[in-house]
Symmetry: C2
Subunit: 361 residues, 2 copies
């Protein structure tokens, strides 16, 4: 197979068919497809259709429930705790974020912890749901352990991403979406595929020494928290990853730290799990709860404009605002199509054959 | 003057006398002293009595109002926006955090943006106020611009710290409190005083090249966001510092980005300030809004115990939990006294003479 380019709609249709084939109803399948392909179109290829096979394997292993009964376990005017009933995170997460938005509409802010869930795609999708409501959106999730805390050689935390989306007026919104590690696992996987060296500070070996071996995770190595080492602030990245783990999983009754369930279905579940499934945490804050919305947006435009026009170091055209690279990518891929690497094209073809659905659509 | 050691109570009394001398009422002076000296006792010497002279100079320059009328400008059941009336951040901040706690008691969570304020001491103090109420506390603040965004050579953000305090059961609480830069300004100042080199990744020169010159900020250099450079995730530190700036100052009507007011009173205020004073942002989340408190704490104990006992790299005794180093320091300094470097002892003596208050108490 060679690399191929697909339209947004064709990937959506294919993903929808896959989710329908494993038993999702049409609404859930459509929602899951939208969340999933948002990753491809924004350039975060590691979290898009490349993971379809992985989701299907989790379903085959009975770790994903295609027809979850999502329930609210605890609730106050500004909070809720949700049991995702082992559903796809791609479905559970946007429904939970919607609850946060509804609560914010009522009392100014809404905060929702979700347990018993699965991988939710890109955090940015859920955070950005708040934007059209003139709200700030926040999304985070724990994930299977790949990261060693400062001073440790044991994988204890996931890459635990956080996304924050902030509306502006004439300017596009501010959308930060980042793993709390030096580099995301997706970036590391690119180097693994190319057999290329990793920059120092991304990973460590089994003794805890930083190394340029991108494949060191298979040799008892670990990813490093943002900062890389103690002298460069890795204890801050470790703290951030921990906060994401606690908000997502200890609040919600999900499994936390080294007990977070693995994404690959062939890896056995950890022993003595202290909770159920993965956990997420969502927030929505109405901007007019704090300040008239038009005033806030005018100042956000000013903020963005000032930062974009900050003096650059030689060789750089302009300072980027969080969300700029993904927005540029989205514009390009919606027009020109979404390139998919040969290995993933092969994967999708195999999936199509197995589930008896057309590919390409 | 040589280095001297002071008891906690003697520094509290001295600071209280200083704040009373500039016109604070006794309650505010006591509160400000407690917040200030919490930094010394926890080992964050840069934010404690070393700053007393600076606060007094801001008052002399009429940038600090010793008798502020703190008002709520906007409010919903879960939020408030506060005008600090140019008061000491040391007074305005804990009062704002108390409002967040009161709102959380009513509706599950409380979120308070504060504008027209001043430097608020250590973020950790305010976040930790939530602990005794079985709540998670969050505190952040913007600060005068010292940090260049990724790709930039212009100082656009403060070191913009974030603190998150999470209660546990038998274990001590999890308390993260960190600048969103590779290293805090306080750590850089220590190197400046010693004329020592800075680790690569902490600061850059006026061309934007990383340098080991700890004094480079006086030569148009800048501090670096957590991550250090793009390859090591500095865009994530830049995003975090930006989020703190926006939550603290754009929500509240404070002055943001490069317009944040400088702490040293001899530096002129920026032109065309888009808001008033510094801004802070506080959050309180009742743990029983999400899950029965005893259950949450039992799992936090398990979380902390598991992480503390993670396998260490050679040469390290145990993995630290955020808050461990400050707690150890606090225990030691409450017993043995708080060491104050000669330059600060001299400063405090000068202040005592000027304000006609006894020193040492």
């Amino acid at each position: 197979m060679s690399e191929r380019s697909f339209s947004y709609n064709s990937l959506i249709d294919f993903a929808k068919n896959v989710f329908t084939a494993i038993g999702c109803n049409i609404d859930d399948a459509t929602l899951a497809a939208r969340v999933l392909v948002a990753a491809d179109v924004r350039g975060i290829d590691s979290h898009g259709v490349a993971r379809l096979t992985g989701y299907v394997r989790l379903w085959e292993a009975k770790r994903v429930n295609a027809t979850p009964a999502i329930t609210i376990k605890y609730e106050t005017p500004s909070t809720a705790t949700i049991d995702g009933d082992a559903g796809l995170g791609l479905v559970v997460a946007p429904k939970a974020m919607q609850i946060a938005i509804d609560k914010a509409r009522q009392v100014g802010t809404g905060w929702v912890a979700v347990g018993n869930s699965n991988h939710f795609g890109i955090a940015g999708y859920h955070a950005m749901m708040a934007l059209e409501h003139d709200m700030i959106g926040i999304a985070m999730t724990n994930a299977s352990a790949l990261v060693a805390p400062t001073f440790s050689i044991e994988k204890m935390l996931g890459t635990n991403p956080v996304a924050v989306a902030i509306p502006a007026g004439d300017q596009p919104p501010f959308v930060a979406d980042f793993a709390t590690t030096t580099a995301s696992n997706g970036k590391l996987e690119i180097l693994q595929r190319k057999n290329a060296a990793a920059p120092i500070g991304w990973v460590q070996d089994e003794q805890g020494n930083t190394t340029d071996d991108a494949n060191v995770l298979k040799k008892n190595g670990a990813m490093l928290p943002l900062g890389g080492d103690r002298e460069h602030g890795s204890h801050k990245g470790y703290a951030m990853g921990s906060i994401v783990d606690i908000f997502s999983a200890v609040f919600s009754g999900a499994s936390y730290g080294p007990w977070a369930p693995p994404f690959p279905a062939y890896i056995a579940m950890p022993d003595n799990m202290p909770g159920k499934g993965l956990g997420h945490f969502f927030g929505a804050m109405r901007i007019d709860a704090f300040r008239p919305a038009a005033e806030f947006k005018k100042h956000m435009d000013n903020w963005i404009d000032r930062f974009r026009n900050a003096k650059t170091a030689k060789g750089f055209e302009s300072v980027l605002i969080p969300g700029d690279p993904e927005r540029t990518m989205e514009r390009q891929r919606m027009q020109e199509g979404i390139p998919v690497v040969p290995a993933v094209v092969q994967d999708l073809q195999t999936l199509a054959d197995k589930l008896h659905i057309p590919f390409p659509v």
